[in-house]
């Protein structure tokens, strides 16, 4: 290869298809690109895509804390008390239930399994709760329990994606992304959508659960670690001053702006925004994460230990994020997949341990938001991706452990705050808790209701992608009016 050929080859390497279109003299290329990219963004690219935007109609909630108890908490051992199931415990599951059913793990004819845990009624509303949730029992008059949730997915990742993105397949924006896209966020020094995870393992659905799908990536969730640097590399390396950082970012931004002007890809804008946000987060985040400064009474309330990675610490952080105007906080806690294959997934000991880890902090968050006057416009949602079967899974035929398989037909979630009618139990399941028999609430209905509380019409919050308008609830979803205060 002679030098001339070499230069030509190198040049071809750097010229991408986009460069070709962008430089196409006729301008057809830029036209084509304009139609490919989001029109509204190109027409009038807002200075800040995260600036607060007015909701469709007056909102009941301004912020959301979404607890996702990954794995599928057993509704039958926590919320949905079924005396008939206890009576029938040990008997074979009738064929009428099994017919045409597919289970994730159950093989053969499973035996029904009554809960080994005691239940009691609590509060003025008299809601039934498992004795494993003594702290939640103290705030039961502030929450609405939905016993009639149902989904279409019976494996973790698709079910989690369904819960968070409205689709069991990857590639859709998550609820937090939809909300920050629709409403923006008040605090420009922090991301509008923050994710905190606990339980030692990420949820099966992975980061797609807080991804932005096809909406600009500026709306995706930012995962914070609850130990060490909350965001990796948030602090400047030794010898590098904030002024240095500023200068280098200014140069970088200038380059990115050139790129944006030339190509007009909204992702370039996202990149600029993310650099700027990261810069602001260098000061806002360390202050935010300093939970050690909370008074002892608050640590006592939540059961937090500063410096430790725990669910309780995440709950306290969630409150601090909400106080600072963050729009959507997702808390994932792994370890609720009670199959009964080992001690930590046993319905008796494993589930008890999960409750011991989380119950106090969940109830503390409700109480703390309430006393601060934040519960009025903060919506709390608690639940898993699906429920668990009324039958013992008994995968290893080991009587030492009992467990339940994945169950999409009926599960329980609870909601509190921001426009939710407190102290109610909504919906009901049949005698053994297999199917919903009263007021079913589909995952899309829940999503429609959440958007409604945030002042958004779920049929109008759309994003045009690949030639059609997409929405969180796809083509379904009804606002559950009975849950609204």
């Amino acid at each position: 290869m002679n030098p001339e050929q070499h230069i030509l080859a190198e040049r071809l390497k750097v010229i991408t298809r986009r460069h070709f279109f962008a430089r196409c003299a006729s301008g057809i290329g830029s036209l084509a690109l304009a139609s490919l990219a989001n029109r509204s963004l190109l027409a009038a690219a807002p200075a800040n895509p995260l600036a607060p935007k007015p909701s469709h109609f007056p909102a009941r909630a301004k912020r959301i804390i979404f607890f996702h108890m990954a794995g599928g908490p057993s509704q039958l051992d926590l919320f949905d008390y079924k005396p008939a199931l206890i009576k029938l415990s040990g008997q074979e599951c009738p064929e009428s239930y099994r017919k045409g059913e597919r289970f994730a793990f159950i093989k053969g004819i499973p035996k029904l399994l009554g809960t080994p845990h005691a239940f009691a009624r609590h509060g003025q509303c008299g809601a039934e709760l498992s004795c494993m949730l003594p702290h939640l029992a103290t705030v039961v008059d502030d929450i609405a329990i939905v016993k009639s949730m149902h989904t279409t997915q019976f494996n973790h990742a698709p079910a989690q994606l369904f819960m968070h993105t409205g689709s069991p397949l990857m590639g859709r924006p998550s609820m937090g992304a939809w909300l920050t896209y629709g409403l923006g966020t008040e605090n420009q020094d922090l991301p509008g959508f923050v994710v905190l995870a606990s339980g030692g393992k990420a949820p099966d659905g992975g980061s797609s659960l807080w991804g932005s799908g096809f909406v600009p990536t500026v709306y995706q969730g930012v995962q914070c670690r609850s130990q060490g640097d909350p965001v990796l590399y948030v602090s400047n390396p030794p010898g590098f001053t904030p002024a240095d950082r500023r200068r280098s970012l200014d140069t970088l931004n200038a380059l990115n702006r050139m790129q944006l002007d030339e190509i007009g890809d909204p992702e370039t804008l996202t990149r600029i925004e993310q650099y700027e946000l990261a810069y602001r987060m260098q000061t806002s985040v360390p202050e935010l994460m300093e939970i050690a400064k909370e008074p002892p009474a608050i640590h006592e309330l939540y059961g937090t230990e500063p410096g430790k990675a725990s669910f309780a610490n995440n709950c306290l952080l969630a409150r601090r994020l909400i106080e600072r105007g963050v729009r959507f906080v997702s808390l994932f806690d792994w370890g609720w997949d009670s199959h009964g294959t080992a001690k930590n997934t046993d319905i008796r000991s494993g589930l008890q341990a999960q409750c011991d880890n989380t119950d106090r902090a969940c109830a503390a968050l409700v109480k703390d938001l309430k006393q601060r006057g934040l519960l009025d416009d903060t919506l709390i949602v608690w639940g898993g991706e699906f429920g668990r079967t009324p039958m013992n899974e008994d995968r290893h035929k080991n009587p030492a452990f009992i467990g339940r398989d994945h169950h999409p037909h009926a599960f329980t979630m609870w909601l509190a705050g921001g426009g939710i009618r407190p102290g109610i139990t909504y919906g009901a399941t049949d005698e053994i808790g297999y199917r919903v028999v009263e007021n079913p609430v589909h995952v899309h209905d829940l999503q429609a209701t959440i958007l409604h509380l945030m002042g958004l019409d779920h049929t109008k919050l759309t994003y045009r992608f690949q030639g059609r308008d997409f929405r969180l609830t796809d083509v379904a979803g009804h606002v559950v009016k009975e849950l609204l205060a």
């Binding site: 007015p54 469709h56 007056p58 105007g325 006393q371 006057g373 002042g455």
Partner: protein
């Protein structure tokens, strides 16, 4: 209030009597027309007008006679000031007689007498009409708004106009608040002249005395006072007061009346002494015109440039609450350097600000003054600020406030009292303040509109009663449990004990717990007539010699047939035991059988 009808008056009389106020305008009109025609006919050119007098005179006479008759019937109903009624009655009759006289003189061609009687009749008509009007509308109806000199000329008492109230708190409740309401809405029919239902409301003594059906005010309990209850009845209700068509009291007026009665219906207490709840304070302010007028929001488009400038300058977030409203929410809590000076700069947005978050800012009592201008504010965050009781005086002016967050401030019980006037307040946060739980509880009880709550509870009860009456409750008696499926019990015999033929399983008789089968109905009858020989024929000795329950000897009379086998027991108790749960006993018997083998 119902008008007590004397039982002696037939309904047809009352019915016709009610036409009096309708018909009364005919003779008045006719007479005035006649007078006018006669006057005009004095001019030579208009002389032909007089030709109509005969017809008009006839019509007038008929109308006057009918009207007078109806009037006499209406008077039977009672409920009017007797003296006034008397005057009106005689004047009315005099008009009718005058008409008769005028007709007669005209007929006889006595022109002078005719003119004389017409003039006198017209004069009497004026008097009769005035009395009539006084009965319906009250004595001072005509002169109520007359200029002072005219009133003086007429000898009307020139009651000092109610003193303009500068400070609502200092107004005397009965004379300056309650009495004007009663006068405007009730006194038209319940006054010294027109005692409908025997009730007068023009003086406190008369009001407390009540009407024909008893007192209308229960001191200290508005909910039990008919005066208040009748106001709240639906307008379509017969007992609703004031009657449909008359000026109705406003919600504010009703709230004030109820509050005054609840406070014991005092004569000389001032507003401040009776400590009005927020709802009543608002009502009083509206009535006295001291309430600040509503502040309509400006168009958002006009404010937009200012919003952008301000949010950048003050580093706060200012955004519309939603796309459907002109309201703005301002969140300054994210800027910890936000202070009094910055707050004052929000003034251009004052008519549109609905939510204001000053939580954790450097705001002070002194700087809170601009907040009192934000009259459309429904939500205010002052938590974690240096605001004290002094600053709450500004907050107390925000009449539309629904949410107030004061946690972590120096608010005390005294400061809380200032917030009494926030009638729309729904949420108040006082965590980490000096407010004691008792004071907070008392404040909540104090600020609640108990009247309204009571009425709503009453409404709920009423609706429940309606649901009960609208639902048909059918009782068909206790449902018997479905009869257990008839299982043909296996008889102890396979041959008919009478004929020796094979048995028909449908023809069985249960005898002492044993099922015996026969071949036909005839044999069954035969057995029922005299069972003994046939029983002897059938070998019904039990299969066991010892009772399977106790192990004692079997009593031959205590046997049970089961699956074609006769099982013997020692006593009825054991039989009952077997019938209840045969399984364990059967197993036991089987074992015994094996053992004997």
């Amino acid at each position: 209030m119902p008008i007590a009808t004397p039982p002696s008056v037939p309904e047809i009389v009352l019915f016709l009597g009610r036409f009096h106020p309708l018909l009364v305008h005919l003779p008045i009109g006719f007479l005035c027309l006649l007078g006018l025609l006669e006057a005009l006919a004095r001019f030579p050119r208009l002389k032909p007008l007089a030709h109509g007098r005969g017809v008009i005179l006839g019509l007038t006479l008929a109308a006057a006679a009918f009207t007078a008759a109806c009037g006499l019937m209406l008077a039977q109903a009672g409920g009017y000031d007797a003296a006034l009624l008397q005057s009106h009655q005689w004047a009315g009759i005099a008009v009718a007689v005058g008409c008769l006289l005028a007709s007669f003189t005209h007929w006889r061609g006595l022109t002078r007498a005719y003119y004389g009687s017409l003039i006198v009749t017209l004069a009497v008509l004026a008097v009769a009409s005035h009395y009539g009007g006084s009965i319906t509308h009250g004595r001072d109806y005509l002169t109520q708004y007359a200029p002072e000199p005219i009133r003086e000329l007429l000898g009307e008492e020139t009651a000092p106009a109610p003193a303009k109230v500068a400070v609502v708190e200092e107004a005397v409740v009965f004379t300056q608040v309650v009495q004007p309401i009663l006068k405007a809405k009730c006194a038209g029919c319940h006054n010294a002249d027109k005692l409908k239902g025997g009730l007068r409301v023009d003086t406190l003594e008369a009001l407390l005395q009540g009407g024909q059906s008893g007192p209308v005010i229960e001191k200290g309990d508005a909910a039990k006072s008919r005066l208040v209850n009748y106001l709240h009845l639906p307008v379509t209700d017969d007992k609703h007061m004031p009657p449909a068509g008359k000026p109705q009291p406003t919600g504010d007026e009703m709230a004030v009346l109820a509050w005054w009665i609840d406070a014991g219906a005092p004569a000389d207490k001032t507003v401040a002494e009776l400590k009005p709840p927020a709802r009543v304070t608002r009502a009083l302010e509206t009535m006295f015109g001291t309430a600040e007028p509503d502040m309509p929001p400006q168009k958002l488009a006009d404010l937009q440039p200012g919003i952008e400038k301000l949010s950048a300058e003050l580093s706060v977030s200012i955004a519309p609450l939603s796309q459907t409203e002109p309201w703005l929410a301002c969140n300054a809590s994210l800027n910890t350097n936000f202070g009094d000076a910055e707050l004052a700069k929000l003034a251009p947005l004052k008519s549109n600000l609905r939510w204001l978050d000053l939580g954790g800012t450097k705001i002070t009592d002194a700087g809170l003054a601009p907040v009192s201008e934000l009259r459309n504010l429904t939500r205010l965050h002052l938590e974690r600020t240096a605001v004290t009781d002094a600053g709450l005086a500004c907050v107390a002016k925000l009449r539309n406030l629904e949410y107030l967050n004061l946690y972590g401030t120096a608010t005390s019980d005294a400061g809380l009292q200032q917030l009494r006037r926030l009638a729309k307040l729904q949420k108040l946060y006082l965590w980490q303040t000096k407010v004691t739980p008792d004071a907070a509880k008392a404040f909540a009880a104090d600020i609640t509109d108990k009247q309204q709550l009571h009425r709503w509870r009453q409404e709920i009860e009423d609706i429940k009663a309606k649901i009960r009456t609208a639902t048909l409750d059918i009782n068909v008696g206790a449902q018997l449990p479905p009869a257990p499926a008839q299982v043909a019990a296996k008889p102890v015999n396979d041959k008919c004990p009478v004929t020796g033929k094979p048995v028909d399983l449908a023809k069985t008789v249960t005898h002492e717990g044993k099922v015996i089968a026969f071949c036909c109905d005839k044999c069954v009858a035969c057995f029922q007539q005299n069972p003994k020989p046939l029983l002897a024929k059938l070998n019904l000795t039990p299969i066991n010699a010892k009772c399977p329950v106790t192990g004692k000897d079997v009593d031959p009379a205590k046997t049970v047939s089961h699956e074609g086998k006769v099982i013997g027991f020692c006593c009825d108790k054991c039989v009952a035991c077997f019938k209840q749960d045969p399984k364990p006993i059967l197993t036991k018997l089987n074992l015994q059988a094996i053992a004997t083998k």
